[in-house]
Amino acid sequence: MAFFEVEDVTKRFGGLTALDSISMSVAEGEIRGVIGPNGAGKTTFFNVVSGLYKPTSGSIRFKDREIAGMRPSKIAALGLVRTFQRVALFEKFTVLENVNIARHLQAKETLTGAIFGTAAKRERDALQRAKEIIKFLRLDEVAEELTRNLAHGHQRVLNVAMALATEPKLLMLDEPVAGMNSTETLIMTDLIRKIRDEWGITILLVEHDMRTVMGLCETITVLDFGMKLAEGGPDEIRNNQDVIDAYLGADEFDAAS
C-alpha cells in the first residue's frame, strides 16, 4: 500500500496551468521536501492535496484511499493535515484554547452532548492531549496567552501544534520557518525532526530556506512551472544542473549549496 501517492495531478485556473501532471510518492515515516522557485506551484500543490482546491485531473491517494476533490475537513479526518503559509490562528482565543479547538475531530461533540454535558470525559481527554502537545512543542510558557500577544516564532509553532492536535499521519507544513530568525529556525527544525522521530508522523515540507530543507529532508522533490523537475536526496539535488538553472540568480539557492 502506497502511503501517499499523487498521480498525474493537473490544476488549471482558466487559461493558467498551475500544476502539470505532477506525480510523486511518499513513504510512511519520510520527511519529504518540496521546493522550487517562486511561482513553481508548491502552495497550489498543497492546496490541491489538502482539499482547498479540486484538481482538474489526476489522482491523489492517501493510505489507499482516493482523496482528490474531497473537502478539507474530511481529508483531515483521514489523517492528512496541512498548515498554512500565512499565520493562521483563531484570534481572541488563547494558545491552549486554539489547540483544544483543534481536538475537534477527536472530541466528536454532538448537540445533545453540548447541551447536557454528557461528553465531559472526552472533553477532559481532549484538553489533556492539548496540554501534552503544547508541552512537546515547548509552548507551555505561553499557553494562557492570547494569540495576538505571541511572538512570530511562537505563532508558527502554534500552527504546527494545532495541526498535530488533529492526530495526523501525514503532516504538510507550508513554509514553517518563514520569517523566522536563525535561532527560531533551528528550534522549529528540531521540533519537526522530533515529530517524525518520536511520534512517527510523516512530514511533507514546502520551504524556501535551503539550509533547512537540505538538513531536514531525506528526499526532495523539485517543482518548476507546475511540473516536477527533479527528485532525489539533498546531494543529488544540490548538484542537479536543471535545478541550478531553475534557480538561476536566486540567492536562496546559492546560499545553501
Binding site: 489538502s50 482539499g51 482547498l52 473537502r71 478539507p72 475537513s73 474530511k74 483531515a76 479526518a77 493535515v81 496541512r82 498554512f84 493562521a88 490562528l89 483563531f90 484570534e91 481572541k92 482565543f93 488563547t94 484554547e97 479547538i101 483543534a102 475537534h104 475531530l105 472530541a107 461533540e109 448537540l111 452532548g113 453540548a114 447541551i115 454535558g117 472533553e123 494562557e144 496567552e145 492570547l146 494545532m162 495541526a163 492536535a165 488533529t166
Partner: protein, 320 residues
C-alpha cells in the same frame, strides 16, 4: 479547600430573574403584556445571535418567527393539539424548513447570503399571503386557542407571563450551553478563519447549517408563544420592517458575547416604550440609532461596556 466561584454573568442574570418574578405583581397589566413581548423578543434575538456567530447574517429570521407562529396556529386551531405537543413541534417544523432552505442558501455567503435569505423569506411570506387554506391568506389566522395545561388558565396575563418566562429561561439556557461548548467555538472559528477551521476538521458547511437550524428552532419557539399571545397572526407581522428592528437590537447590543443582544433588546425595548409619545416619529429615532451604531459604535453596547470595564478594572484574557 477552594471556594466555588459563581460565574458573575450568571449571578447577575439570576438576580434579574428574581426581580422579574416579582414584577408582574407590582406593575400594571399593560406592563405585564409589554414584558411578555419582551421575553419573546429576547428568545428571538438570542436565537438570531446563534446564526450570526458563524458570520451568516440573515434577513429571513423574522420569517422563522412566522413559521413557528403559523405552525402553532394550525396545530392548535385546526387540529386541536395541546400546547406541550405544539410547542416543540413548532420548533422542529421551523428547523426543518430552515434545513430545506439551508442547502441551497449556504452555497452563498456574506451579502449574497443576506439577500438570498431575504428572497427565500419573502417567498415563504408570499406563500402565506397566497394560500387561504391553511394560512388564511392576507388576513392571516384568528381565534388561535389559548394555552391549556391542566387546570391553569393561561388567558390570565400573569400565568402566561410566567409560562413565557420559564420557556425563555430554558431556551436561553440551551443557547448559552451551546455557545460555550465546542460546537459554539466551532461556530466562532468559522467566522474567524473559515479555511483554518476546515483544515483542522471542522466541516464548515455542516456547522453553518447547524447554526442556521438551531437559530430557526428557537425562532419557531418564539413564534409559537407569539401566536398564543396575540391570538391572531397575519403575514404583515413578519415583514422586513420587523426584521430591521431585530437587527437594531443586535447591532445596538453587539453580538460578540451571549449577553450583548439581550442588552440590546432590553435597551431598545425600553426606548420603544419611553418614546411612545413620539408616535409617528419613532421609526425615525430608531433609524438614527441604527445609523449611529453602525457608523460610529460598531461594537455596540458590549464594546462600550468592555472599554469602560478595562479602563477601570483591567482587561481579562480568554474568549467571550
Amino acid at each position: 479547600m477552594p471556594v466555588p466561584r459563581v460565574n458573575p454573568e450568571i449571578a447577575s442574570a439570576l438576580a434579574l430573574l428574581a426581580v422579574l418574578c416579582i414584577a408582574p405583581f407590582i406593575v400594571s397589566e399593560y406592563r405585564v403584556g409589554v414584558l411578555i413581548i419582551f421575553f419573546i423578543n429576547v428568545i428571538l434575538v438570542s436565537s438570531y445571535r446563534v446564526v450570526t456567530t458563524t458570520g451568516d447574517w440573515t434577513l429571513s429570521h423574522v420569517i422563522f418567527l412566522g413559521v413557528g407562529a403559523y405552525a402553532t396556529a394550525i396545530m392548535a386551531k385546526n387540529f386541536g393539539w395541546p400546547f406541550w405537543l405544539t410547542l416543540p413541534i413548532s420548533g422542529v417544523a421551523t428547523a426543518a424548513v430552515a434545513m430545506m432552505v439551508a442547502f441551497p442558501l449556504l452555497r452563498t455567503k456574506g451579502f449574497g447570503f443576506f439577500i438570498g435569505s431575504f428572497a427565500i423569506g419573502e417567498f415563504i411570506r408570499h406563500v402565506w399571503i397566497k394560500f387561504h387554506d391553511p394560512f388564511g391568506g392576507p388576513r392571516g389566522m384568528i381565534s388561535i386557542p389559548t394555552v391549556e395545561i391542566g387546570e391553569i388558565d393561561f388567558y390570565d396575563s400573569i400565568n402566561f407571563y410566567f409560562l413565557t418566562m420559564i420557556i425563555m429561561v430554558v431556551a436561553l439556557g440551551v443557547i448559552y450551553r451551546l455557545d460555550k461548548s465546542r460546537i459554539g467555538n466551532a461556530w466562532k472559528t468559522i467566522y474567524l478563519d473559515e479555511d483554518l477551521a476546515e483544515s483542522i476538521g471542522i466541516h464548515v458547511f455542516h456547522y453553518r447549517a447547524t447554526a442556521f437550524a438551531v437559530a430557526a428552532f428557537f425562532a419557531g419557539i418564539a413564534g409559537a408563544m407569539f401566536a398564543h399571545l396575540n391570538g391572531a397572526i397575519d403575514p404583515h407581522n413578519f415583514e422586513v420592517d420587523t426584521m430591521v428592528y431585530l437587527v437594531i437590537w443586535i447591532v445596538v447590543g453587539g453580538n460578540a458575547t451571549f449577553w450583548g443582544p439581550i442588552a440590546g433588546v432590553s435597551v431598545m425595548s425600553f426606548i420603544f416604550e419611553l418614546s411612545r409619545p413620539l408616535a409617528e416619529w419613532r421609526p425615525l429615532l430608531f433609524g438614527v440609532i441604527l445609523i449611529i451604531f453602525l457608523t460610529v459604535l460598531p461594537g455596540g453596547l458590549e464594546m462600550i461596556y468592555e472599554k469602560v470595564r478595562s479602563r477601570f478594572f483591567g482587561s481579562r484574557a480568554g474568549a467571550g
